[in-house]
């Protein structure tokens, strides 16, 4: 038996990867796509349902105008054309978590089409063509009980939660992405990350990959160097973090390369991504015989957004991410290198949000690229999945600014936050981290330092005030770091009369 995967470099010397990305975005509308049910995440199962989203006999859908508005905004932000007239279509297939056994979606008449966007990887800009963005409804969510894997295979029964059924989704589909082979996986990641930022800025979605409001399916195929014939592609489903997008694409490249170089054939199939082991496994085999029997949804009337409305929405769009980046870098006074670190670290939006809360750009960058990025890297999580957000960062920085904490103590507070020990105040209390601001305690420590270091005092008195630094160090050590060094210096200077 040959190796399961090739080394990525070996794979890329023989094959060029061809990518296509399908991203599903759950909109943050108050109500569902075709009924008035609420869309809050995490409600008890089947409490946000009605005859329409349960697909009960006789119930009919009505289009959520706000969802159409969001779809148009997304289309415009991706430089798409917006359809003057388009219809919903039924995608027919059976699955227990789909109440009607068809999904109301769009087929050959998407609301937005023919767009493009750009991503930056290692300072290079890559253009990505957008095929379409269309509206559809989400399915319910199945939980398979009794099996070892949590998958349907081997389960004794399944539970279905229809709260998610009918939540508005926008599916954004790229055209074929062909970039320098070595960049493919990084571009895929950058694209999803860029989309997240864009959708966040548009305010149309919570864009939480960890909660499934942004989901990515990656289509990967390989073609031999120099060939123009496309290979068989696989579709890796539900890759749920930016990091996983890159890893999953890389894995599929190396796996398919191993199959092809040993003379095998890549199967056209759906594959599952396993976050823990970093591999994909075979799912449902797809074939050209998959037939969803699309036809125009007879229960809905066509959507025909007026040009005036489209232009009104265009006027509300936030500035393009690439322009915005240039502007922010100027505002913040970051160097190109610093800005690249921010972008590559996915820290742009958190830093923007932190600065909006009154923190200086330098301080915001320090925490997000320092403590927090390190922790995210170590735990293999995305920065926004850490559980520490701009509000916490701003709170900690405020405590630094008012002298309650110094940087060293602040890092310990972040440690506590990341470990889920509570609010900054609680952590300071529990861990006993606050700086000693009581002058008498500091003065006592200063007295001890002076008494213990007569030689240093001698030096200072003989006209070498710089030598006092050693005394400050001694006091800080005495206070186990929990003192404001500037304060110590001031008191010491008074004491020594300098």
């Amino acid at each position: 038996m040959t190796a399961d995967v090739l080394e990525i470099n070996d794979a890329l010397t023989q094959y060029d990867p061809v990518l296509g990305l399908e991203v599903h975005v759950e909109l943050n509308t108050k109500s569902k796509m075709f009924c008035g049910c609420p869309t809050e995440f995490g409600a008890p199962p089947n409490t946000q349902t009605c005859p329409v989203c349960l697909g009960l006999p006789g119930a009919l859908p009505v289009v959520n105008a706000k969802a159409v508005e969001s779809a148009i905004k997304i289309g415009l932000a991706l430089n798409c054309e917006i359809a003057e007239w388009c219809r919903f279509a039924r995608k027919n297939y059976f699955y227990p978590d789909m109440p009607k056994n068809f999904q109301t979606s769009q087929y050959d008449e998407p609301i937005a089409f023919n767009g493009w966007t750009e991503v930056v990887v290692d300072g290079e800009t890559y253009r990505i063509e957008i095929e379409r963005a269309h509206m559809e409804e989400d399915t319910g969510k199945s939980t398979h009980v009794g099996g070892a894997t949590g998958r349907i295979h081997g389960a004794s029964h399944s539970l279905v939660d229809y709260n998610r059924a009918g939540i508005p989704l926008i599916e954004i589909v790229t055209k074929t992405i062909e970039v320098p082979p070595a960049k493919a996986a990084a571009v895929a990641r950058a694209y999803v990350s860029m989309l997240r930022d864009l959708l966040f800025a548009l305010g149309v979605s919570d864009v939480r990959m960890d909660q499934g409001s942004l989901r990515c399916d990656a289509n990967v195929s390989l073609k031999p160097h120099g060939s123009t014939v496309l290979g068989t592609r696989t579709e890796t489903k539900n890759v749920n973090s930016f990091r996983s997008v890159e890893r999953a694409v890389t894995y599929e490249i190396t796996r398919q390369a191993a199959v092809l170089s040993s003379g095998g054939k890549v199967l056209q199939e759906t594959r599952h991504w396993h976050e823990d082991t970093g591999i994909t496994t075979s799912g449902r085999e797809k074939s050209d015989a998959d037939d969803y029997r699309y036809f125009p949804e007879p229960d809905l009337v066509p959507v025909a957004p007026s040009r005036e409305w489209v232009e009104e929405l265009r006027a509300t769009l936030p500035e393009a991410p690439s322009l915005r980046r240039v502007r922010l870098q100027e505002d913040w006074g970051f160097t190109d290198l610093e800005m690249r670190d921010v972008i590559n670290g996915n820290a742009l939006e958190p830093i923007v949000a932190t600065i909006e809360l009154g923190v200086t750009p330098a301080a915001a960058k320090k925490w997000w690229l320092g403590e927090l990025a390190r922790s995210a890297n170590e735990s293999g999580q995305d920065l926004d999945a850490l559980g520490v957000g701009p509000a916490e960062v701003a709170e900690v920085q405020k405590l630094v600014d008012d002298g309650t904490l110094n940087d060293k103590l602040a890092r310990q507070v972040f440690e506590g936050l990341l470990a889920g020990e509570g609010t900054p105040a609680e952590i300071i209390e529990k861990r006993g981290l606050a700086l000693v601001s009581d002058d008498s305690a500091l003065l006592e420590a200063i007295d001890r330092a002076i008494a213990a270091n007569p030689d240093v005092v001698e030096k200072v008195n003989s006209g070498k005030p710089a030598a006092a630094g050693a005394l400050i160090g001694a006091v800080m050590k005495d206070m186990r770091g929990q003192a404001d060094a500037a304060k110590v210096r001031q008191l010491l200077n008074e004491k020594l009369g300098i």
């Binding site: 005859p51 349960l54 697909g55 009960l56 006999p57 006789g58 119930a59 009919l60 859908p61 009505v62 289009v63 039924r90 027919n92 059976f94 227990p96 109440p99 009607k100 056994n101 068809f102 399944s158 279905v160 037939d291 029997r293 699309y294 036809f295 007879p298 229960d299 809905l300 009337v301």
Partner: protein
């Protein structure tokens, strides 16, 4: 007061207004009639005795209170009605004539039912129908065939045979039907009653268990034109829950039914709907009716609608296509029948076993037909082509309405046929709806009015009127004119000629 069941809805309303009868009395009389004759007719699948009497009592109480407060009750408040079992009524079994929904009690009211309740109309129960409204005889019901009160050996038409039989058997003065290809009008014709298919979008489909979403239309069934119009007015109008609902005022149907004046009205006889394949007695009564309208001052011309001949094949592609998708939800997972759930079978197997046991032959036939017609590689040739025919038929109508105000034809090629006669010949069965289908494909308004009995079998013949979208009032105008002219000849409406049913207890 057994004669209460012989009254029209308008007369019953008058009796209640003048205090001569209560809704409870009227409702009870009809429940008694159902108990007496429905064993033979089998119009009802479910009789909601308690619910109906409670509703009647509530209306009577409201009327008493209204006398003091001066509040106006709705025109049909307290009048009983039979509801086709395809519309949901909260807490009342709703089967659509199918085993697969046996025992299902919907948790919500359809818009039609909401409006009936709001108008104080008392719902007696649910009427029999061909399974999922697929059929023209009620023989496809999973719960047995309904018998035609004019001749119990014959079918009452379908799919809404139960609703039309109920009113022609005097079990209810009013009924609700749904019309996808003629399911209100053809049973109306076969039972000597009035059946109206409103403009598509003129009545709400919310809560109507879908057969073909782009064709289904709820509408009124009654023994007189005025009764049909009163019921039409009670249920029609814009519904935000149905995206295909038309946001316009309801046409003045009651006024039209009260003043049936056809003087100067331009009537077009559709050339293609007659001749070969039409029973002689049907043609004879139809042409007499046309002459009668001419005498009343209508201007009658012949009009050609050349694409109507393609209506039937187009219909039998569009309907099964939509139905195959609409019926996919019946998978045993959430409601209704569940077969084979023994802890070993997969969900897929349970779905298969349930659909095998729960769907009848005609339903399976149309699911297979529709699934095939929508398949990739066939879509353009079948579904796509059928949609083009639909456009051509709509153009035929539009062109015709440039020349005339309404179009007319026989409602059906024949009178009611014998039970079992066509059950093995789907094509012969489908041809029943030759005259009625074009109006569904074009979405315009149409109705069948009684116009006499065929000489050869003594069975009722229906006169079919078609009117432009949202000109439902024109149907009633013609219907009322015909009704009063014929009543002069017959000394009453056609129903008075119906044989008396044997009463059993």
């Amino acid at each position: 007061m057994s004669d209460l069941t012989r009254k029209t809805a308008a007369e019953l309303a008058e009796l209640m207004t003048s205090g001569q009868a209560s809704s409870v009395e009227i409702t009870q009389a009809h429940l008694d009639r159902i108990a007496a004759v429905d064993g033979a007719v089998h119009a009802f699948l479910h009789v909601d005795t308690e619910g109906a009497l409670a509703q009647a009592k509530a209306v009577d109480d409201k009327r008493t209170a209204a006398k003091k407060s001066g509040e106006q009750l709705s025109p049909l408040a307290g009048v009983p009605l039979a509801l086709k079992d395809v519309l949901t009524q909260e807490g009342v079994p709703t089967t659509a004539g199918s085993k697969i929904l046996e025992g299902w009690k919907p948790p919500y009211d359809s818009t039609v039912v909401k409006r009936l309740k709001a108008a104080g109309i008392v719902i007696l129960g649910k009427t029999n129908m061909d399974e999922f409204a697929m059929g023209s005889s009620t023989e496809n019901s999973a719960y047995g065939t309904t018998h035609n009160p004019w001749d119990l050996a014959r079918i009452p038409g379908g799919s809404g045979g139960g609703s039309s039989a109920a009113i022609s058997a005097y079990e209810a003065p009013l009924a609700i039907g749904t019309d996808t290809g003629g399911s209100i009008r053809q049973p109306g014709a076969f039972t000597g009653t009035v059946g109206v298919k409103p403009t598509y979008g003129g009545t709400s489909r919310y809560g109507l268990i879908a057969l073909a979403s782009s064709l289904d239309t709820p509408g009124p069934c009654a023994r007189t034109t005025l009764d049909a119009a009163l019921l039409h007015e009670a249920i029609a109008g814009y519904d935000p829950m149905d995206s295909t609902s038309i946001n316009q005022p309801v046409p003045a149907v009651v006024e039209a039914a009260r003043n049936g004046d056809v003087a100067g009205l331009r009537i077009g006889v559709v050339k293609e709907l007659g001749g070969e394949g039409y029973q002689s007695g049907v043609e004879a009564r139809f042409h007499e009716a046309v002459e009668l309208l001419t005498k009343l001052g209508a201007e009658v011309v012949e009009v050609s609608c050349p694409h109507f001949e393609y209506a039937l094949p187009a219909y039998y592609l569009i309907l099964p296509s939509e139905a195959s998708s609409n019926l996919a939800k019946f998978d045993a997972m959430r409601y209704g029948l569940r077969v084979g759930d023994d802890g070993t079978n997969s969900a897929e197997t349970v779905t298969s076993l349930t659909r095998e046991a729960g769907f009848g032959a005609e339903v399976k036939r149309r699911i297979i037909l529709g699934t095939h017609a929508l398949s990739s590689g066939y879509y353009d040739a079948y579904y796509g082509q059928a949609q083009k025919v639909r456009t051509l038929i709509a153009r035929d109508f539009a062109k015709a309405y440039e020349q005339v105000d309404v179009l007319v034809s026989p409602a059906t090629p024949t009178t009611a046929f014998a039970i079992g006669d066509r059950i093995d010949d789907p094509i012969a069965m489908y041809k029943n709806d030759l005259c009625t289908i074009p109006s569904n494909l074009a979405g315009n308004a149409a109705a069948s009015f009684p116009c006499g009995l065929a000489d050869e079998d003594g069975l009722p013949v229906g006169f079919h009127v078609m009117a432009p979208v949202m000109r439902d009032d024109l149907l009633y105008k013609v219907g009322a004119a015909l009704e009063s002219a014929l009543a002069e000849q017959w000394g009453g409406v056609l129903m008075t000629k119906a044989p008396e049913l044997e009463v059993t207890r």
